[in-house]
């Protein structure tokens, strides 16, 4: 005798809470380290210390801390970055990290600085880096003090967020290789400041600043950061810009990763499906935001599909499906079949199928992230035509880009369209 059951996964809950993040007064100047505890005890989950203390001190004022990196407990060891900023308002306790990697909340009703928006780290200069860090970045007075009677020496350098505009919401801050990323740099004071990339290595990735290992700014402006070597899997979030006067650090940017991602899916008609089914086959192609699809050698894409609005012969069809993950570094990505068994076409009817592409990237640790422009709708319409011989059925299968959401994954419209009508 045996008993059968379709297996369900045992998914461990993932939750972590920061230790108390107490308000403090403006005289706070010592370095404070706050450790985020991992309640699961999963060794794959490495939660970084909150380093470098708190810069803003007044209760009710904005606060910030150094961005932290968090490894989630999935097998590929993906890592997310949590922005260290919070707008003004009462804040008397800690932060929660929730399993979606989206849920950094500050336990008050103000917007979540790290996630749901507005993202202080992406929509505006990073609060954690804008302010000078008196404890770590004070210039060497002996080398940088200006002559009497001139302007004050550089006392701080703030970077705008190092993050490509093509980075989807919820992904760690990253830039693609091969593309210049202009980063605004704000100098407080005057004098020459050297800007370079800190942490570069074969594993962490490498980047240039204005085409070289370092560049010098004499005033506020911008620099072009360009990824050269992509970050290796498991090494996300170990790069940042650093501004120095001599050996003294004047400021640092957020941590970032170098990795290419797909941002658009394009479809084109390939062939008619005949025989025991009717429909269309569509060639699917994805881009890379680095401009080179071959850069996506650690990226795989999957499709999510959900049926909606079935009537007539399609009434009652509501299930959804995912495809397996397929490599994203080949072009075309593959061929999608949109087929209807003839045996199912018993009368008139129609149904829509929403489709969104998602990807996972071993370099950044992204998983299940929507390809920004990859939404489609597949519409099936069965009509009847009266003929001398009776009633004949025909089916039109159409596919077109549309902004949509499938099983929690949201995408703007993908590109391309096709429509074909076949007799049944």
């Amino acid at each position: 005798m045996f008993a059968q059951a379709v297996a369900n996964p045992q998914v461990e809950g993932v939750a972590a809470r920061a230790s108390t993040f107490a308000p403090h007064d403006s005289s706070f100047s010592r370095k404070q380290s706050t450790r985020v505890e991992n309640q699961t005890g999963d060794p794959r989950r490495r939660v970084a210390d909150l380093q470098d203390g708190v810069r803003e001190a007044n209760l009710g004022a904005a606060w910030s801390f150094e961005n932290i990196s968090v490894f989630s407990p999935v097998p590929d060891g993906r890592m997310v970055s949590i922005d260290g900023g919070h707008g003004a308002g009462a804040n008397t306790d800690g932060i929660d990290l929730e399993p979606s990697e989206q849920g950094l909340t500050d336990q008050v009703t103000s917007p979540d600085a790290g996630t749901s928006a507005p993202d202080a780290g992406t929509s505006a200069p990073d609060a954690g880096t804008m302010a000078p860090d008196a404890g770590t970045t004070a210039p060497d007075a002996g080398t940088t003090a200006p002559d009497a009677g001139t302007t004050a020496p550089v006392t701080a350098v703030a970077f705008a967020s190092v993050n490509s505009t093509t980075t989807p919401t919820g992904m760690i801050r990253r830039i693609p290789p091969r593309i210049n990323q202009p980063i605004a740099v704000n100098l407080t004071g005057s004098g020459n400041v050297d800007i370079s990339v800190e942490g570069g290595s074969a594993a962490n990735g490498t980047a240039t600043v204005d085409g070289a290992a370092s560049t010098t700014l004499a005033a506020s402006g911008s620099v072009n950061v360009r990824g050269v070597t992509q970050t290796s899997p498991g090494a996300a979030g170990h790069l940042r810009l650093v501004a120095k006067v001599g050996a003294a650090v004047m400021g640092r940017s957020n941590w970032f990763t170098i990795c290419a991602i797909p941002t658009r899916v394009t479809v084109a008609f390939s062939s008619l499906i005949t025989g025991t089914s009717r429909g269309i086959a569509m060639t699917t192609t994805n881009n890379s935001d680095s401009g080179v699809v071959g850069d996506l050698d650690e990226v795989q894409m999957s499709e999510k599909v959900q049926y909606v609005g079935g009537v007539g012969c399609f009434a009652g069809i509501t299930s959804g499906n995912n495809s397996g993950y397929l490599p994203a570094n080949v072009s075309p990505h593959g061929v999608d079949s949109h087929s209807t068994p003839v045996s199912l076409i018993t009368g008139t009817g129609s149904i829509d199928s929403r489709q969104v592409f998602v990807f996972k990237d071993k370099r950044s640790g992204a998983s299940g992230t929507s390809v920004t422009n990859s939404g489609f709708n597949i519409h099936r319409e069965v009509t009847s035509i009266a003929t001398d011989a009776g009633v004949s059925l025909s089916i039109t299968t159409s596919k077109a880009g549309v902004a949509t959401t499938v099983a929690g994954s949201t995408a703007s419209a993908g590109s391309g369209a096709a429509s074909r009508t076949q007799s049944v």
């Binding site: 059968q4 397996g324 199912l344």
Partner: protein, 167 residues
């Protein structure tokens, strides 16, 4: 790995895409123990017979079990020939699985056995390719002895897994 399985060692077939399971409306990664079983497919010695460039195989972590111990079955379809196509949307319901000669799932369709029944919207992948996109089935055997599990889809028949249940 048998001589005719050497293609499985080459990219992209050597990249295991992972196993997924349904949890309500959601689709999630399968438990690591199942992933490990699925990952072993390229080196699995007792694959199903190759029929027309296609074969189906079932895999279990163990072939010995205690009474009422769960035995989980991973399902893999492979197209070894470029003319054979795989429908990789899923995880697809397992059809045509037999335990001790008894059909324990809905029957398999008589048409293309690897095409899931009903509407299909998703990739069709020509061989050589491997499709891990099937549900994982699980059984508990109460009676000691040898129990036979086999998966049949049309003219395709998997390897037979013999589970020895010992008190």
């Amino acid at each position: 790995m048998a001589p005719d399985d050497r293609h499985l060692a080459r990219p992209p077939l050597n990249k295991f895409p992972g196993l997924y399971v349904r949890v309500g409306e959601d689709i999630r990664a399968a438990p690591e123990a199942d992933q490990s079983v699925g990952r072993s497919y390229p080196n699995w010695r007792d694959k199903g017979p190759n029929i027309g460039g296609r074969r189906i195989t079932i895999l279990t972590a163990n072939v010995r079990a205690r009474p009422n111990e769960e035995v989980r079955v991973v399902h893999v379809a492979e197209a070894t020939d470029a003319s054979a196509m795989l429908y990789t949307m899923g995880p697809k319901p397992v059809l045509g699985e037999y335990v001790d000669g008894i059909l324990t799932t809905p029957p398999a369709p008589e048409e293309d056995p690897l095409r899931p029944p009903g509407l299909y919207d998703g990739p069709v992948v020509p061989g050589p390719a491997v499709d891990y996109g099937y549900d994982i089935t699980a059984y508990r055997f109460t009676e000691p002895g040898t129990h036979r599990i086999v998966w049949r889809l049309g003219d395709l028949e998997s390897n037979e897994v013999l589970v020895a249940v010992e008190p």
